[in-house]
């Protein structure tokens, strides 16, 4: 391995999303052979960057949208992000070489059950949509000639139609239970979502052997039983 012949191996930073996905990721990290320092599992820790059992590899734990940004800017070299986040930013500096098959859900349009019975999408020219994904939403509606006026929210999208903020939302759906509980109906799936291993483009080009080795290691761990 040429990496060993280099006098000093440069640091490699892996960005991981906080929360639900991280729990699903832990078994994968075990199989890949990355053991974070104990502080990583302390939810109250004020640390943002963590050491691992591998001297050159450190981890950062950030919000899922920020994983893509850290990696696109080269502040982290590798990361784990859903294709919802990747599509929203559409950074040219991001590669997503591997589907990790975790964090499965879908990004969908939902509206109140009552509205879905009378609404005729053919007649739309403008729609107002509450979402965390204004870019994907705009692109999705623009593709069929409808201007989406997006209201950017960071959570609790399901509240928006009930309180009259707007009629429609675009949000992640897994079981659909939250939608049902709020009187909403999923009317259209925009995309299926899974978590991807993402790589910074310049790092991929300038440290090819090292990053290929990581991608392969993750690939093997993903396909392991």
């Amino acid at each position: 391995m040429t990496a060993k012949s280099e006098p000093v191996q440069e640091e490699l930073v892996l960005a991981l999303p906080k929360g639900r996905i991280l729990d699903e990721l832990r078994p994968l990290l075990d199989r890949v052979g990355i053991i974070p320092e104990p502080e990583f599992d302390n939810d109250n820790s004020r640390h943002l960057k963590f050491k691992t059992n591998l001297p050159h590899l450190s981890l950062i734990r950030v919000r899922s949208f920020d994983v893509a940004t850290f990696v696109a800017f080269g502040a982290a070299h590798l990361g784990v992000a859903g294709n919802d986040v990747i599509m929203e930013f559409d950074y040219s500096e991001l590669y997503a070489p591997l589907d990790l098959g975790i964090g499965r859900c879908r990004l969908s349009v939902a509206e109140p059950v009552a509205l879905s019975q009378t609404d005729d999408p053919q007649r739309w020219s403008h729609v107002r949509v509450a979402t965390k994904y204004p870019e994907i939403t705009r692109r999705h509606f623009a593709a069929r000639g409808v201007q989406a006026e997006c209201v950017k929210l960071n959570g609790a999208m399901e509240l928006a139609p009930a309180l009259g903020l707007c009629h429609r939302i675009v949000d992640l759906v897994s079981s659909g239970a939250t939608l049902r509980a709020n009187g909403l109906k999923e009317v259209e799936e925009i995309t299926a979502v899974t978590s991807r291993l993402i790589v910074n483009r310049a790092a991929f080009k300038t440290r090819p052997e090292e990053l290929h080795r990581w991608i392969e290691t993750f690939r093997e761990a993903t396909h392991a039983p």
Binding site: E10, E11, L12, V13, T69, A72, F73, G74, A75, A76, H77, I86, Y91, S92, E93, L94, Y95, A96, P97, L98, D99, R196, V199, N200, A202, A203, F204, K205, T206, R207, P208, E209, H212
Partner: protein, 416 residues
Amino acid sequence: MSVPLHQTRHRALLPVGLPDVLPPDAGHEAALMERLMASFASHGYQRVKPPLLEFTDSLLAGIGADTTLSHQTFRVLDPQSGMMMGIRPDFTPQVARIAGSRLSQAPRPLRLAYCGQVLRVASSQIQPERQIDQVGVELIGASQPEADAEIILLAANSLAGLGIISLSVDLCMPTLVPTLCQAWGLDPDTTERLRQALDRKDAAGVAAVGGEPALVLGRLMAAAGLADGALETLEAMPLPAAAEPDRQHLAQVVRLVRHAAPHLMVTLDLVEYRGFEYQDGVSFTLFSRGRGGESGSGLELGNGGRYRAGATQDIRGEKDIPGEPATGFTLYANAVVKTAPPPEARSQVYLPHGTDPQKGEQLRADGWVTLAGLALLAEAEAKAEAIRLGCGFIVTSRDARPVKLADDGSAKTSTP
């Protein structure tokens, strides 16, 4: 609703992507650009200077009316002619226009260089600059692999000449994937889906297309990496005959570059396309590995590749003029400055009011930077003034050499 910008505006506020560059950075940048231009000139590339604006008809003829670059073009109405003008978003179409018109009778291959600013409508978070200083060359009228190799090596050697040692060149062949898709008879929708998946190096997205295309493109994508290994994979692949010219040309260029610069890091990406929409042959991106002090992710210093110079479309969109084979590259000054080692600081010496002009002349000839005192001051005051202006030395009537200034007032003579 946020407060409108015009209500909060400070006089020093500048538009997004249009910064002031101050000393010493502005001087450093200019010096680096001059050294690059000198390097190009020493390889026979002569400088041209197209205007900042020209009629959109001619500017966009070389760019294409509905392309990324045309959407990046600032447009203004020329009050004098009543015609629309565009501010150049790139030099290459202008240089190609010159080569195809005023220099159409100049002997080929034609080697031209340029240095100056371009302006783009939109910036992104990652690339916030809208006014970009570019320096580059075009080699027009040559289609041999030797021409591609000359361009790649000129870029690498010129950057190495600035002291940038951790250079890496990523080669690609943007026509390879479209050629393959056409040979397989894929429909436009599938081709577009593949294109998007390949742009993101999304192995699952490529596999989803299925069949031979997914298999071949998946392997080509996975082969990205150090040139020797990637080339081996490419040469061993069974490909449709239509891809043969691309494959052979690329292989030849890789060999020429590897032979001429065995220590240069060269990588190969067989499915790269994004950013190379105008290219029709071997293309490349120049990276600096790691940016001093920051993360080790690398920084893009410039890019280049093969295209048709002077190929234009008429109003009906039919390709009228095929143009000439050409290749070239552009380097971004702002990225080069971040990567190149800073210049050696020159010693500044204060010339008190009334110093013999010949003395100053001699010091400058010896490499000093002189700052002339504009008001007559007593000796102690002159020393304080020199220190205030950042001079390390002062000329006195007693000493032949400039005297070193120290904050404690003690002084020693020295040389620059």
